[in-house]
C-alpha cells in the first residue's frame, strides 16, 4: 500500500518526470556499455587476429627484427617433440576495398604449414602458382566481396608497392566472425620476397607432437639452451597480451570518461528522488502518523530507485548496443593508433554478462543516488510533528557546516590528486575529481542561500521585482533548488573538465606539430582509417633520393624491442639530415639540431617522454637493447616530447640501425626541400615517378599538421558526444525540479495573480527562476570543472600516457558551454512557465 501511495500512483499521474529520469539513467548506462563493447570488440579483434591465426596449442620463438632462418637448423633437435613452422605476418592493403588484410606466409610444402589453415573450398587450389610465388589462398568471404574465382587476379599493395597476385585457392573459415576472413595465405618464400624479409621470419612456431604438452616442450627448449638472446619463447596469447597491455590505460580512461555520463545520470536520479521526497513530505508524514515505520518508508524509496535503475539499465543496454556500432569505427581507429597497426573489422557483441552488468549498473547507480533522499524520507516525522518549511535563509551553523564540508572535500580531492597511480592507472586522481564534484553538490544549498542573501542587499532591491520574486521563490524551495543547481553544476563541471583536457591536449599537439614537423613533404604507405598499412618499399626511398638528393631525404625505420619487460619502438632516421633542419622539441629546451648533432657525435640515442617517465630514464643513462646482431648500447642524449604514441620510443641514427637490423623498408619518409622550392610541385614529381607502381600518400607540411589534428579529433570525437549527454541530462534535471517547484508554489503564483500580476509576469518569474538555477549551477560548475580539468591534464594524462601537456582552458568554449546550459535551463523552464500561465487564482486560493 505504501508503494502504491508513494511510488506507483504518482508515477501513473506524472509519467513524464519518471520517463525523463529513466532516460537519464539509460543515457549513462548506454555510454558505458557502448564504450566497453566497442573497446572490447576492437581489442578482441586485435587479439584474435593473433591467436586464432596462430592456432591451437603452439609456442612461438620471436626476436626483435625477426628470427634468423638460420636458427632453424639448431632447432631441428626438437623434431621428436615438435614440428617446426616458420611464419611471416605482414599487413597489406586491398586497394579495391580500401581495407587492410593480414598476409600470412607459411611453408605450404609441409604438412605443418597447412595444419592450421581453414579447410579448402571450391576444389583443389592451383598449387603451381602458389609455389611460383604469385598465387595466394583467399578466404571465401573476401573472394565473394571481390567476386573472385580461382585463377582470377587480385591486386595487393605490399610495402606500398602494388602487385598482381592470383587467387590460387579459396579457404572457408568455420566461424562468421573468424579472423581468417581478413587473412591471405601465401608461400613463405614468396612472402619473404614480397616483404623484403630475406633471411628472417616473424616467428618460428613449435607445434607439439601428439603426447607432448606445451609445458614439456617449453622445458625442453629451456633446458637445452636453444634460445640465446634476443630470442624469446611465448604463446600467441602472451604475444597478444603485450598489445593489450599497451591499451590498458587507454581502455581505462575511455571507460572513465563514459562513466561520467553515468555519474550525471546518477545526479539526475538523486535530483528526481529528492524532489519527489520533498513533494511527498506531507504524505510520508501522514503515513508515519498512521504507524508506518521508517523502514517501510525507506523501502518505498529504494524500490522506486531500483525500478528507475532497472528500466534505465535495460533501455541503456539496448541503446548501448546501437551506440557501440556507431562508436566502433572511432574506437578501432584509436586502438589501431595506439598499437600502431591496423585492427580488423569486427562485429559488436553485447553478450549476456555485459548486458547484465549494464542493467546492474543502472540499478546500483540509482540505489546509490537514492542515499540522501532516503535519509531525508526516513527523517520525516509524523504529521503532527511536521514543522513548516525550514527558515528561508540557512542559519549560520548550517552555512558553516556546509562550507566546512565543501572545503574538506576539496582538500581530500587535492590530496588524492597528488597520490601516485595504482597499477599504472590514475585511480586516486579520478577519485580526487569525484571528491571535487561531491564538494560542488555539498555546497549547492549554500550557493542558493548566498544568492538569496545577495537579493536582499539594498543595492539589488532595485534590480527588478521579477528577479527578486524569482530569487525569493528559489530560496523558499531551497532544498529542491539546491539539487537542481547541483545537477547543473555537475554537468557543467564535467563538460568544462573534458573541454579543458581536450583543448589543452589539442593545443599541445598543435604546438608540438608546428615545432617538430619541419619537413616539406612526408611520405607514408597508403592508410586505412588514418593508420598506414605496412612499410615503404626501398625503391620509394631510392626514388626520393634520386629526385631530391641524399641530403634532403630522411627515411625513418622502426622495429619493436623489449625494454624492462615492456615492448618499445626503436626508430631510426637520417640524423645528419635532421640535424640540419631540426625536429621535435626536447624536454631540456635545447635546440633539436644541437641534440641530434650530439647523438651523431657520441653515437647516442634520444628517447621520448613516455619512455623517460615509464622507465625512469634521463640524459646520461645508457640503454641496452637486444638486436639481431647483438646488444646495442647507447647513451641517452636527450628526451623529446612525443604525442604520437604513449609507448616508449628510442631513436638512433639510421646507419646505426641498419648495422643491427635488416633493411625491410622504411616506415615513412621525410623530405626537406631547399628554400624557395615549391613543395606542391615536388610532390607532383615524386608521385609521377612512383605512379602505377606504388600506393603512397604524400603530405605537404600543412597537410601533415592537419592530418595530425584530424587523427586527434577522431580520437576525441567520443568525448564530444559524452559532453552533449552531460548537458542534456542537466537540462532534464532542471526541468524536473522546476515542475516540482511550480506545483508547490502554485499558491504563491495564484497570490501574485490576485495582487495584480499579469500571466506573462507570472510566467517570467518561473523563467527567471530557471535561468537563475542555470547561473548558480554554472558558477560552481565552471570552478569545479577547471579544477578537475587541471587534474586531468597534469595528473591523469601523465599517469596514463606519460605525456606532459600545457594547461590551456578553452575559455570561449567554457563560457559558451555555460551559456548553452543556462539557455537550456531557460528552455527547460518553458514547460512549467506554460503551466504557470494556466494558474487560476480563485481556484487555488479557495482550496486553502
Amino acid at each position: 500500500m505504501i508503494l502504491r501511495a508513494l511510488v506507483l500512483r504518482p508515477a501513473q499521474r506524472r509519467p513524464l518526470r519518471l520517463l525523463l529520469t529513466i532516460v537519464g539513467v539509460a543515457a549513462g548506462v548506454a555510454a558505458v556499455v557502448a564504450t566497453i563493447a566497442a573497446n572490447r570488440a576492437a581489442v578482441w579483434a586485435m587479439r584474435e587476429g593473433v591467436v586464432e591465426v596462430a592456432g591451437g596449442e603452439v609456442l612461438e620463438i620471436t626476436a626483435p627484427g625477426g628470427v634468423p632462418t638460420a636458427r632453424l637448423a639448431a632447432l631441428r633437435r626438437l623434431a621428436s617433440h615438435a614440428r617446426l613452422a616458420p611464419v611471416i605476418e605482414e599487413a597489406a592493403l586491398l586497394p579495391e576495398l580500401r581495407e587492410t588484410v593480414k598476409v600470412l606466409g607459411v611453408d605450404l610444402l609441409t604438412e605443418v604449414g597447412l595444419a592450421n589453415l581453414p579447410p579448402l573450398a571450391g576444389g583443389q587450389p592451383q598449387w603451381e602458382s602458389v609455389l611460383r610465388g604469385d598465387g595466394v589462398l583467399v578466404p571465401s568471404a573476401l573472394a565473394e566481396r571481390l567476386s573472385l574465382q580461382v585463377g582470377d587476379r587480385l591486386l595487393l599493395a605490399a610495402r606500398s608497392r602494388t602487385v598482381q597476385l592470383i587467387a590460387a585457392g579459396v579457404v572457408a573459415p568455420q566461424r562468421l566472425a573468424s579472423a581468417w576472413n581478413h587473412v591471405i595465405v601465401m608461400d613463405i618464400a614468396a612472402a619473404q620476397e614480397l616483404f623484403g624479409r630475406h633471411g628472417y621470419v616473424d616467428a618460428l612456431q613449435l607445434r607439439p607432437r601428439p603426447g607432448v604438452t606445451l609445458e614439456q616442450l617449453r622445458d625442453r627448449v629451456v633446458s637445452e639452451n636453444l634460445l640465446p638472446p634476443p630470442l624469446a619463447l611465448a604463446t600467441p596469447g602472451q604475444r597478444a597480451e603485450g598489445g593489450q597491455r599497451m591499451l590498458r590505460a587507454l581502455e581505462f580512461n575511455l571507460a572513465a570518461l563514459s562513466g561520467i555520463s553515468l555519474l550525471v545520470g546518477a545526479v539526475l536520479v538523486a535530483t528526481t528522488l529528492a524532489t519527489s521526497v520533498v513533494q511527498r513530505r506531507r504524505v510520508i508524514a501522514l503515513l508515519r502518523s498512521l504507524g508506518a515505520g521508517r523502514g517501510q518508508i525507506a523501502r518505498a524509496v529504494l524500490v522506486e530507485a531500483a525500478l528507475i535503475g532497472l528500466a534505465g539499465g535495460v533501455a541503456g543496454v539496448l541503446g548501448g548496443g546501437l551506440a557501440a556500432r556507431a562508436a566502433l569505427a572511432s574506437v578501432r581507429a584509436t586502438v589501431a593508433s595506439a598499437v600502431q597497426s591496423a585492427v580488423p573489422t569486427t562485429a559488436i557483441d553485447i553478450d549476456p554478462p555485459l548486458a547484465v552488468t549494464g542493467v546492474l549498473l543502472g540499478v546500483v547507480v540509482s540505489l546509490a543516488a537514492a542515499a540522501l533522499p532516503l535519509l531525508e524520507a526516513r527523517a520525516t516525522p509524523p504529521l503532527q510533528g511536521l514543522r513548516g518549511e525550514p527558515p528561508v535563509l540557512l542559519p549560520a551553523r548550517a552555512r558553516r557546516r556546509s562550507a566546512l564540508l565543501g572545503l574538506a572535500l576539496l582538500a581530500i580531492g587535492a590530496a588524492l590528486a597528488r597520490l601516485p597511480a595504482v597499477g599504472g592507472l590514475p585511480i586516486p586522481a579520478l577519485a580526487g575529481s569525484l571528491a571535487i564534484l561531491a564538494a560542488l553538490l555539498a555546497t549547492a544549498g549554500l550557493a542558493v542561500d548566498t544568492f538569496a542573501r545577495l537579493e536582499a542587499l539594498p543595492g539589488l532591491r532595485r534590480a527588478g521585482v521579477l528577479l527578486r520574486l524569482a530569487g525569493a521563490a528559489l530560496a523558499a524551495g531551497r532544498r529542491r533548488a539546491a539539487w537542481a543547481a547541483g545537477a547543473v553544476g555537475v554537468a557543467i563541471a564535467l563538460a568544462v573538465a573534458i573541454a579543458t583536457m581536450v583543448s589543452s591536449f589539442r593545443a599541445t599537439v598543435l604546438h608540438w606539430a608546428e615545432q617538430g614537423l619541419r619537413s616539406d613533404l612526408w611520405v607514408r604507405p597508403a592508410a586505412v582509417a588514418g593508420v598506414q598499412v605496412g612499410r615503404l618499399h626501398p625503391d620509394v626511398v631510392e626514388c626520393a633520393i634520386q629526385l631530391f638528393g641524399n641530403e634532403a631525404v630522411d627515411p625513418f625505420h622502426v622495429a619493436t624491442v623489449p625494454l624492462h619487460g615492456e615492448t618499445i619502438t626503436l626508430g631510426a632516421g637520417a640524423l645528419e639530415v635532421v640535424a640540419r633542419h631540426g625536429g621535435v622539441p626536447f624536454r631540456s629546451g635545447e635546440d633539436a639540431r644541437a641534440v641530434f648533432a650530439e647523438v651523431l657525435r657520441r653515437r647516442g640515442a634520444v628517447i621520448n617522454e613516455p619512455a623517460a617517465r615509464r622507465f625512469g630514464l634521463a640524459e646520461g643513462d645508457v640503454l641496452r637493447l637486444p638486436t639481431p646482431k647483438g646488444v646495442l648500447e647507447r647513451p641517452i642524449v636527450g628526451v623529446f616530447y612525443d604525442y604520437s604514441r604513449s609507448q616508449g620510443m628510442v631513436v638512433i641514427d639510421r646507419a646505426d640501425f641498419l648495422a643491427h637490423f635488416p633493411d625491410i623498408g622504411a616506415q615513412e619518409l621525410a623530405v626537406f626541400l631547399p628554400p624557395h622550392a615549391d613543395p606542391a610541385e615536388a610532390r607532383q614529381r615524386l608521385l609521377a615517378a612512383l605512379s602505377g607502381r606504388f600506393l603512397v600518400e604524400v603530405f605537404l607540411n600543412r597537410e601533415l599538421r592537419a592530418e595530425v589534428i584530424a587523427v586527434f579529433d577522431r580520437t576525441f570525437a567520443i568525448t564530444t558526444a559524452l559532453q552533449l549527454v552531460a548537458v542534456g541530462v542537466a537540462v532534464v534535471a532542471v526541468a524536473t525540479v522546476l515542475l516540482a517547484l511550480l506545483a508547490e508554489r502554485a499558491r504563491d503564483l495564484a497570490l501574485l495573480r490576485a495582487l495584480g500580476a499579469s500571466r506573462t509576469q507570472v510566467a517570467r518569474v518561473v523563467l527567471v527562476q530557471a535561468a537563475l538555477l542555470g547561473v548558480i549551477g554554472a558558477a560552481g560548475g565552471i570552478a569545479a570543472g577547471l579544477a578537475i580539468g587541471l587534474i586531468l591534464v597534469k595528473v591523469v594524462n601523465v599517469q596514463s600516457f606519460a605525456w606532459t601537456l600545457r594547461l590551456l582552458p578553452p575559455w570561449g568554449s567554457v563560457l559558451s558551454t555555460a551559456a548553452w546550459v543556462a539557455l537550456g535551463c531557460l528552455v527547460a523552464g518553458a514547460v512549467p512557465a506554460a503551466g504557470a500561465l494556466r494558474v487560476a487564482p480563485a481556484e487555488v486560493l479557495r482550496e486553502e
Binding site: M1, R4, R9, L287, S289, L290, G291, A292, L383, Q384
Partner: protein
Amino acid sequence: MEPVAVLDGVGKRYRAGQGSVTALHQVSLRLLAGEMVALVGPSGCGKSTTLNLLSGVDRPDEGEVTVCGVDVRRAGEEVLTLLRRRHIGIVFQAFHLVPQLTVEENVALPLALDGRRDDSRVHDLLQRVGLTHRRRHFPGELSGGEQQRAAVARALVHRPRLVLADEPTGNLDSASGTAVLQLLDELRRRDGAALLLATHDQRLAAVADRVLAMHDGRLVASHRP
C-alpha cells in the same frame, strides 16, 4: 478500570528563537476505556501538544505519559510506531487522506501498514459512514464531509483502544460537523475505544462524557456536562 492513557505531571517546552516556550505545565489526566473526553480551550493553549504526546509523536520533558501500557517518554521509536499503528486512531482537522489512494484504500491503510487485511471490516465501516458508493473514488473527488467520514472510518478500522480527534469538524459546515461527530462517537462506542476530542467549540464539548478545559498550557477545569 485500567485507564487507556495517563498523563501525570507532564511538562513540555519548545524552543523559540533564543529562548523557549512552555506548551504544557504540570498536566495530569486519565482516559478510561469507552469514555469520550473533550479537551477545550483557545488556540495555542496546548490541546494539540497534548494530543501529540498521547500519540507518541512527541515526548514529554517532565512527568510521565503512559498509553496502552507504553511509557512514551522511555519507549523506543519502533515501539511508538507500533503503538500508533495498532492502538491509536487519529482524525485530523484537515482530513489528511492520501490523495493517491482510493477511499477504500485509505480506510484499509492502517491494516495494510500492519501487514493485515480485513475486507469485511473495511466494507462494514464504509457502509456505516455511507461511502460504499464512493469507495473507488479518490479524495480529491469527495466533499469535505465525505472526506472526514472516510477519515473517521480509517481511524477505527484497526479497532484502536484510543481515538484522538484534533478539531475534527473545524473544516466542515455545522451540519456536516455534527453528523461526523455523531458518527465518530457511535462507531467508537461499538468498539469500546476511548475518544479524546480537542476542540475550541463548546457546543461539541457538550456531547462528551467529560470536559477538560485548558488555558496557557494548564488544565484549569474538569467537569461533566
